[in-house]
């Protein structure tokens, strides 16, 4: 017989005894436990939220307010009191956007735009780059300014860019402003993409607010398929290989063999893809469950045949944002501007200085510095349209430098951006000098394969700088890989030692490189599965996430050869 007690016992057995403290913990900000999509707490909260949301589907302002409140709570759970910052900046941005829209004098419009850009970037700059600037200044001029004790509010880079897109699009008269503040706040604070993107553009999102809310079976299928994939990518592949292998090697590369360093580099490439794209997919999927369609953010980027292609497939919402609002603003491929020339010049000057100061110890830094400058200059000197190519390349390089810096305050991100900027320039001149012939035969297949391998390896090489905690560590990893010798039996021992990690890496890469026909087939089968079957599949994925989360970390292995 089922009694209250037996139900209670079953509950305690499966979920543990519930205390008032725990329930409080669900609703109070805890810096150690962020509310991520892949946590059990989010699932629980979302279930309750979603149930009510379904009933509100036919209302408008009630529904918007309801989502806003949940979004603010979601943000509060991630950043505590800083949800007020989100509110404050949205009030200011909304006010400025109204002024810009209503202002008819072009120059005044521009002044308000500049004020808003300065405010937004100033906010981002303070929270994200203040300490970096102090450290850089102290290092360069032997200053000793105190560091500020700054908390980096979660997602500030994303929502700042999002509100900037709104204002700039109003300035460019590409969109009309929202009717009121509630609608605007809904756009800025929409929780699926609030903390980690994708960066949703006002012109893509705002029209959806005014449409009649609708959710079809196909939408739900797409959403669940994205969420399942995202959960596996983010929590299983990315988290497991980073904690159990990649982090360890990048912490102290010299304590590991060359092969382990190489594998950690490949491992990081799949880790960061699964991390970024997995979280994006979950965000897009959750937004879709609420009836909002966000654009795709990643399209199997390691299948790219060139670095230009890579940037059309990697973090698309960021690269289009940078293209539309940074690259075009500083002149694009039309004209050279002061800003467009400033940053690359500063960078190459710094590079040269670094080469000269280190030339006493080794000639290599100087060779790299001069080499980099020569390659960059050749990328437009060899072009038939010299002036235009030069302008384009400088503006592109600026975009990549600043885009690199957007990922984090650190020299390694600047280097990462510079490498990509240089590669883009080189690829452009290569295409101009050796235009591809439009014929498909065996040779072009081989050429395509070769291009993919080359692009992939260049990207992996750049990730080393992106991941390493500083420049020296990156050089250690690269030097260590340089000493790799062909010793298959050693490799086998290492692979067996980290069996789980290597299996997951393999799984990640195989999944990534699966032909689209196969993924489409999988999707088709999923679509045809009955409702209950989908629930079981999703439940099984929940279990995988849970089991991975509780899995202990792999003990240390020291190899000696």
């Amino acid at each position: 017989m089922i009694t209250i007690d037996s139900i209670n016992d079953w509950f305690v057995q499966n979920f543990g005894a519930l205390t008032l403290e725990q329930v409080k913990g669900w609703f109070i900000y805890n810096p150690e436990e962020k509310l991520l999509f892949n946590t059990g707490l989010f699932l629980g909260l979302f279930l309750v939220f979603y149930f009510v949301y379904a009933f509100l589907r036919k209302t408008f302002y009630l529904r918007l307010t309801y989502v806003i409140l949940f979004s603010l709570f979601f943000y509060y759970k991630s950043s505590g009191i800083y949800f007020l910052l989100l509110l404050l900046s949205s009030v200011v941005d909304y006010g400025l956007s109204q002024i810009i829209y209503n202002e008819s004098v072009k120059t005044r419009k521009k002044i308000y735009l500049i004020i808003s850009v300065i405010l937004n970037l100033g906010l981002l700059g303070y929270f994200k780059y203040m300490n970096f600037m102090i450290v850089t200044y102290n290092d360069m001029f032997h200053g000793n300014f105190e560091l500020h004790d700054i908390f980096l509010p979660v997602g500030i880079s994303f929502y700042t860019f999002q509100s900037m897109s709104y204002i700039i699009e109003i300035y460019r008269e590409e969109i009309k402003p929202t009717k009121n503040y509630i609608e605007y706040l809904f756009f800025v604070s929409f929780f699926p993409q609030l903390v980690a993107g994708p960066i949703v553009r006002a012109k893509d999102f705002l029209p959806q607010i005014y449409q009649k809310l609708n959710l079809t079976k196909a939408d739900v299928n797409n959403a669940l398929f994205l969420i399942i994939g995202g959960l596996i990518k983010k929590t299983v592949i990315s988290n497991y290989i980073s904690v159990n292998f990649v982090d360890r090697v990048f912490d102290t590369p010299m304590s590991y063999t060359s092969f382990e360093n190489l594998m950690a580099s490949y491992g990081y490439a799949i880790q960061i893809y699964c991390d970024f794209s997995g979280y994006s997919d979950m965000a897009i999927g959750i937004a879709l469950l609420l009836g909002f369609k966000l654009p795709a953010n990643f399209r199997t980027p390691y299948k790219s045949v060139s670095i230009t292609d890579f940037w059309r497939r990697w973090h698309i919402s960021l690269s289009t944002w940078l293209k539309d609002f940074l690259y075009i603003s500083i002149g694009g491929n039309r004209e050279g501007t002061f800003a467009g020339f400033l940053f690359p010049s500063l960078f190459f000057f710094g590079l040269l200085l670094w080469g000269i100061t280190n030339s006493a110890e080794s000639i290599i830094p100087l060779v790299i510095a001069v080499g980099g400058i020569v390659v960059f200059c050749l990328s437009f000197l060899l072009s038939s349209k010299l002036k235009q190519t030069m302008v384009t390349n400088f503006n592109l390089f600026t975009t990549m430098l600043l885009g690199g810096l957007w990922h984090g305050a650190g020299a390694q991100f600047i280097i990462w951006g510079a490498l990509h900027g240089l590669a883009l320039a080189v690829h452009k001149i290569f295409v101009e000098l050796f235009p591809s012939k439009k014929e498909s035969n065996g040779l072009s297949t081989i050429w395509k394969f070769f291009s993919i391998v080359l692009t992939f390896h260049f990207v992996v090489f750049c990730w080393i700088f992106f991941r390493a905690k500083d420049f020296d560590t990156a050089i250690q990893v690269i030097n260590n890989i340089g000493q790799l010798t062909f010793e298959p039996d050693h490799w086998q021992t290492i692979i067996l030692g980290y069996k789980n990690v290597f299996l997951l890496m393999l799984f990640g890469y195989v999944w990534h490189f699966l032909p689209e026909v196969v993924t489409a087939k999988m999707k088709l089968i999923f679509d045809k599965t009955p409702l209950i079957g989908k629930a079981i599949v999703l439940g099984f994925v929940y279990w995988i996430v849970y089991a991975t989360a509780v899995a202990g970390s792999q003990p240390f292995i020291y190899f000696q050869f």
């Binding site: 589907r57 959403a223 999703l538």
Partner: protein
């Protein structure tokens, strides 16, 4: 129908999935990734550790009841040369009393700057790459003088990560380590390793270059240490453009050859026809002040020290004259799923006794394991084995009359490793076990601080004694072995 709203079906799927998850949780195993034991000759494992764990883990239960009683009991020290540190509790045990001979040597050094004091720091992967040790060394050399990094092996798994001295060696050395070899071809050196230049067709070489440490910007008095053999051999030292050729005369248990009496930036040593001669390494010191040797060996539990050859060690000691031996271990015995460490205590007691036999009269300091975190229910917390291990380490420190540093409480106690890892900038690595450069520097500072606190206290006590002597005569004791709680002295 395509246009019909699908919200409630959508909700149903997500909710039913939750029910399915509860079902899966009931029937499926808890862990998704099997923890496979790696079994291979290429993995570095302490063989003595495995043996004694297997032998002892079956036999008996722990003695936790005794330990609780012990915790608050007073430990009263008997005076040594008229100096007696105040009594301590087991909980708080530091054992400065047993470091008196080391403190005395430091005191002499402070009075006579041309004197010298030498410390051997044995450790596991925590001290790889000279982490922690270089910071202890810097602290001592800053205050008491001395330059040089001390004794350096021919090669080690971690030499690439060492910045205080750069060393490279050819791949054709035959190396044996006390970690996994019980009966070496020739006895192990003070570093626990022995190397042979057995390759007859190619030269076997090693080169050293001074690193960037504040007190080791050059290699002072580089001296080769090698052992006994029936054959003789040759070694060519290359300094810049000069080559100095020397004969190896392996007549004694331990022999030395000075490369040069000058301070050099770097040199290379080519061994020719030196097969079967045990080569140990090079010593770099300026002959005055404090010198600290780093004998790190990743994977080590500390127990392999018990297989040292005491005679060979005494010969090393005749040259190097150690005043303090530090044993910093524990990390590698945390992952054995046990909380009963009596087997480890036994093994380490043997190791400490071997140290005593090898370096007569030396002070010994035991450093406990640091905090280490493990995942419990999705959260990283202090591993449940840490506290029992620290207790066991404290016990054998006390029983063998060694000083003790509780590194676990020193770095912050429960949950401190999580903090050190999460801090910005981080002070420990994501493995929740090892410190990074920044953290190691902090640890080195904390260790020095505790040792120095004892030294300052020693100086006060010493002054009191001097004052006492002026008043009347003191009782002189010849033996230090006496303690009121436990009297357990083991002799080999």
């Amino acid at each position: 129908m395509n246009t019909k709203s699908y919200f409630f079906q959508s909700f149903a799927i997500v909710a039913l999935a939750f029910v399915a998850f509860i079902g899966f949780k009931q029937i499926l195993p808890d862990k998704i990734f099997p923890e496979s034991k790696v079994d291979s000759k290429n993995v570095l494992v302490d063989s003595l550790l495995l043996e004694s764990f297997e032998k002892e883990s079956v036999s008996k239960k722990g003695d936790s009841a005794d330990a609780d009683k012990q915790a608050q009991q007073n430990i009263v020290f008997n005076s040594n040369e008229g100096i007696e540190f105040p009594s301590e509790t087991f909980d708080d045990y530091k054992g400065y009393q047993y470091l008196i001979s080391f403190y005395d040597k430091l005191y002499q050094l402070e009075k006579h700057p041309e004197a010298k004091v030498r410390i051997a720091y044995y450790g596991d992967s925590m001290t790889d790459g000279d982490l922690i040790v270089q910071d202890v060394r810097n602290n001592y050399q800053e205050r008491f003088g001395g330059t040089g990094v001390g004794f350096v092996s021919i090669s080690s798994e971690s030499s690439a990560s060492r910045a205080s001295v750069k060393s490279l060696s050819s791949k054709n050395w035959k190396a044996q380590s006390y970690l996994n070899v019980k009966k070496p071809l020739s006895p192990f050196g003070v570093n626990g390793h022995v190397f042979f230049a057995n390759d007859k067709s190619n030269t076997t070489w090693v080169s050293y270059e001074a690193g960037l440490s504040k007190f080791a910007t050059s290699l002072d008095n580089p001296t080769l240490y090698y052992g006994k053999s029936s054959k003789s051999g040759k070694v060519n030292f290359i300094i810049g453009k000069d080559t100095i050729s020397k004969n190896l005369a392996p007549n004694n248990l331990v022999n030395t050859i000075k490369v040069t009496s000058k301070s050099v930036k770097g040199f290379k040593a080519n061994f020719v026809h030196a097969d079967s001669i045990p080569i140990y390494g090079f010593n770099f010191d300026n002959g005055r002040g404090v010198h600290v040797d780093n004998f790190s060996q990743r994977g080590n539990s500390g127990m392999p020290i018990s297989i040292f050859d005491a005679n060979v060690m005494q010969s090393f000691n005749a040259n190097l004259k150690y005043d303090l031996i530090i044993l910093h271990y524990g990390t590698n015995v945390l992952n054995y799923g046990t909380k009963n460490y009596s087997w480890y205590g036994k093994g380490m007691t043997k190791a400490v006794n071997k140290i005593k036999a090898s370096f007569p009269g030396v002070s010994i300091l035991i450093i406990s394991t640091a905090d280490k975190s493990t995942k419990y229910d999705m959260q990283m917390k202090t591993d449940s084995a840490v506290v029992p291990l620290v207790k066991a380490q404290k016990r054998y420190a006390l029983e063998t009359e060694s000083g003790f540093v509780n590194l676990y409480t020193l770095m912050g106690g429960d949950g401190s490793m999580v903090k050190w890892v999460d801090e910005v900038p981080a002070r420990a690595n994501k493995d929740y076990t090892h410190f990074n450069q920044r953290g190691a520097k902090a640890i080195g500072g904390l260790l020095y601080e505790q040792l120095n606190k004892g030294y300052e206290q020693y100086k006060v006590l010493r002054e009191k004694r001097e004052a006492g002597i002026k008043k009347g005569k003191t009782v002189r004791k010849t033996n230090t072995d006496s303690m009121s709680v436990i009297n357990d002295s083991v002799d080999e």
